[in-house]
């Protein structure tokens, strides 16, 4: 029996405005509780919202970046429900007329193919505050600093069929919104949060009942949550049960999700047009101006990287999608002068360390300039690639500049031909049996036999001999004995 998974995503993206969507309070992260919650954010009686122009511009920017139709007239609605982090008792959002209409995003799959994920729409809305569940004498503490932070909620069509595709899509959007500067992309601070709609069906059958899992704030959580939910649904059906339409809440501490409310218990949100806000009207000239101000999109950057740096499509993809990675790579490449080598390092050693330590490239302990200085020592043959990895490790641990580390650890590569010749002679002299075998071997088999000699020489040099030079000298001397 083959099962097909159907996944749709709703992505809450905090916009990088200075102030709230409807008030002039700061959105800066990390302030003391309720110090950035003004009368409007607290829903004090008689207060009124006024829309932030920058939130509109950023939403439109997202729209033009995904080639979506822009809602030239959009409007705000009230979504009514009671919750302590929602001071007005309603969330101001866009239901009927969102600012961004249909669009699409292409994702690259592991097999190299491309898939288009359709965007149903994206709408502006306000974020809620935070409930802190530490115990205050059996009470919860409410911090409303986040209340009113502008969000765009990006709603995809159910076009993804695996957790990997969902993650690829989420990463793609993350890269996009950071690239165009409308979101800081700080997942750990909640700047991007995912709700996933998952259903399963047997191939060719109608769509199954879907569940919505909320509160996923990392790609890993999202992937795990989807894998778990797909398994749960399939098990349920195979055991003769039925999937219930419900909202599930993912707990990042226990890595489990549980049912929050069923469809029957679903809130009746009583949406209606917000009478305190008027329809937002923008004209085509405004949209065109925003489009003209778009920075380079990942797609275009990818093409440029393949063309001007002659990178492989794969490397270009990895480097171009994320604006911070792209900037890091370009600085490294231009300062060390070898784009290919820079690409290898950024996609290889650097990416592996960032990944294993779960660090964003924005916070990388090794700067692009430092990495370029390290690569320069490979190019000028001061050190081998292998040594460079050791130096990089030390740089990552904060031991300082590459030259100082090379010096301190005595890692300079031996490229002095006299010294290398001496080492080669010594090894040949002490390996009479191996030399004899080499001489008697078929010509075709000889290159493979070189390994022994190289190994001995590198051992004798404590790994510091330039391997390329060793090879050349060795070959020359052995062949002279033939």
């Amino acid at each position: 029996m083959t099962w097909e998974t159907v996944i749709g995503l709703e992505i809450h993206t905090q916009l990088a405005t200075k102030t709230k969507i409807f008030s002039g309070a700061s959105t800066e992260f990390g302030a003391a509780p309720n110090t950035q919650a003004c009368a409007i954010d607290l829903a004090m009686p008689g207060t009124l919202p006024v829309l932030n122009a920058e939130a509109v511009r950023m939403a439109v920017m997202f729209g033009v970046a995904i080639d979506a139709e822009i809602g030239l007239i959009s409007s705000f609605d009230r979504k009514n429900y009671f919750y302590p982090d929602l001071p007005k008792g309603y969330q101001t959002t866009q239901l009927e007329r969102p600012i961004v209409l249909e669009g699409a995003v292409d994702i690259q799959l592991d097999d190299g193919s491309t898939k288009t994920v359709r965007i149903h729409h994206a709408h502006l809305e306000e974020d809620a505050g935070k409930s802190l569940h530490e115990d205050f004498h059996g009470m919860s503490g409410i911090d409303l600093n986040r209340a009113g932070t502008p969000l765009i909620e990006i709603v995809s069509e159910p076009d993804m069929n695996s957790p990997e595709e969902a993650v690829a899509f989420a990463k793609k959007l993350h890269a996009l919104v950071v690239s165009i500067g409308i979101c800081d992309g700080e997942m750990a601070q909640g700047s991007m949060r995912f709700d996933v709609n998952v259903s399963v069906r047997k191939k060719g059958e109608e769509l199954g009942t879907r569940t919505e899992t909320k509160n996923l704030n990392s790609f890993r959580f999202m992937e795990r949550a989807i894998v778990q939910e797909v398994e749960r649904q399939i098990d349920l059906i195979e055991d003769g049960g039925k999937v219930k339409q419900e909202t599930r809440l993912y707990d990042g501490d226990t890595h489990t999700a549980r049912s929050m409310r069923s469809k029957e218990e679903a809130n009746d949100y009583r949406y209606f047009p917000c009478p305190d806000l008027l329809p937002v009207e923008i004209d085509q000239a405004y949209v065109d101006a925003v489009r003209a101000s778009l920075p380079e999109l990942p797609e275009a950057r990818r093409a440029r990287f393949t063309d001007s740096y002659e990178l492989s499509a794969y490397d270009a993809g990895v480097l171009a999608d994320d604006v911070a990675t792209a900037a890091y790579f370009e600085t490294t490449a231009s300062q060390c002068g070898d784009a290919k080598l820079a690409a290898n390092w950024v996609t290889g050693e650097l990416a592996a360390r960032l990944n294993s330590d779960d660090v964003l490239i924005q916070h990388c302990p090794v700067s692009a300039e430092q990495l370029a200085a390290l690569i320069a020592r490979i190019i000028d043959k001061t050190i081998s690639n292998k040594m460079a990895r050791e130096v990089f490790g030390a740089m990552w641990e904060g031991e300082g500049e590459p030259d100082a580390i090379i010096e301190a650890r005595g890692l300079k590569q031996v490229s002095d031909s006299g010294a290398i010749e001496g080492m080669v002679d010594e090894v040949i002299a002490s390996s009479a049996k191996q030399v004899e075998n080499y001489r008697n071997a078929d010509e075709a088999k000889r290159p493979k036999m070189l390994g022994y000699f190289v190994g001995q020489i590198m051992k004798a040099s404590k790994g510091q001999a330039n391997p390329q030079q060793v090879n050349e000298v060795l070959l020359q001397k052995l062949n002279a004995l033939l």
Binding site: A39, L42, A43, M44, P45, G46, T47, L48, P49, V50, L51, R78, N80, F82, P84, P87, K88, G89, Y90, S140, I142, D268, R270, Y271, F272, P275, D276, L277, L278
Partner: protein, 484 residues
Amino acid sequence: MHNLTLAELSAGLGAGEFSSVEVTRHFLARIKRLDANYNSFITITEEQALAQAAVADQQRAAGSVPALCGVPIAHKDIFCTDGVRTSCGSKMLDNFVPPYSATVVENLAAAGVVVLGKTNMDEFAMGSSNETSYYGPVKNPWHTDCVPGGSSGGSAAAIAARLTPAATATDTGGSIRQPAALCGITGLKPTYGRVSRWGMIAFASSLDQGGPMARTAEDVALMLNQMAGFDNKDSTSIERDVPDYTANLNQDISGLTIGVPEEYFGEGLNPLTEQATRDALAELEKQGAKLKSISLPHSHLSVPAYYVIAPAEASANLSRFDGSRYGYRCENPADLRDMYMRSRSEAFGDEVKRRILIGAYCLSAGYYDAYYNKAMQVRRLIKEDFVSAFNDVDMIAGPTCPNPAFEFGAKGDDPVAMYLEDIYTIATNLAGLPGMSLPCGLVDDKPVGLQLIGNYFDEGRMLNVAHRYQQVSDWHSRCAPGID
């Protein structure tokens, strides 16, 4: 002194006949002595008023000041006043002292007015009789067994009882004009967006509009000059210059065409009220205005549309009163739901609860289209009635209310009968048009009002017509019996 109008008090202060402190003391003493009879004030701000008066006197001595500098007024208790309890007539906000002021309050403060206190009102402005106030009903100075009208009943009664020369008020479905009519004073609801709603506690956001009440059209104009204006804190505020509303009060009204809607003279209108209204219209005709019969065919739908839209908006606007951040919280809530349920149930009165439930119903799944959306469509039809009428006429006039003031409890069990008291005033709120009421007679010794409805932003011309009428009538200067 308390019989002087705002304009006369301003002139007297200017001429040095009396000081603001003297005027303020006089009104404060009157309030303390007499308001037990009317219950028109919720809060008296004696200390602040005297301090403001002293400052105003200094400013006057120092040089030229705005007309209203040093003149005492009162604010409806729906306008937030920094440091002064703002209850909105509700137990919910009995302990609420806002750390900010409404734009209207700030605008008037900038003109140097002295604030005597905060006036009583129907709870959250929901009512037409002032019987829903947590602070008890306001009594009509003309007949203390009768209601003063609502929701701005405290402001209207205080003016009628000569406890303040003028007051601020708000009007969502008639809450300025109906109490003005029932208390025999003059009140104006401006064009929607003319006066900022910032700091004015919301009932129904798309209908609410602040405006002035006083005894004369001239005083109303003086007040409106300070209250009106664009406010960037209110998205629905209109960016448009404020004319001097006193400039054209005396302008000749001959040639003005006044439309008389036949729907406003139909069944349900008290015949004596009708007579008083027709007499007033005849007076305007005598001054050269032309009367023209018109039809506003969707008039009968304004009350039904209003009782969907206003409760729907209110149901959301009042969700913020949840016991979390300010206002009433019940004792020892068992859990979060209990805090919400009990705080709201214990602190909201019956009429407020009723409207919240009606609003929730009209917006709930499956009923939105039949109720809310339908009402918003009908709202457009009602507006279009007026738009086409204003193609033919310059102004519209008719009765403000079908009847004079009724006795307390007369409509207690019958919300619909109460709602129908606003039958002539609600349509202007739905259309966003300016409307005003001015005294035009007595029926059974109780005042009745003439309503003027103007085109958008035509407040100046309405005040002109009202002022001209008040030059040849004395209904506005009559005093309720027993008031010296």
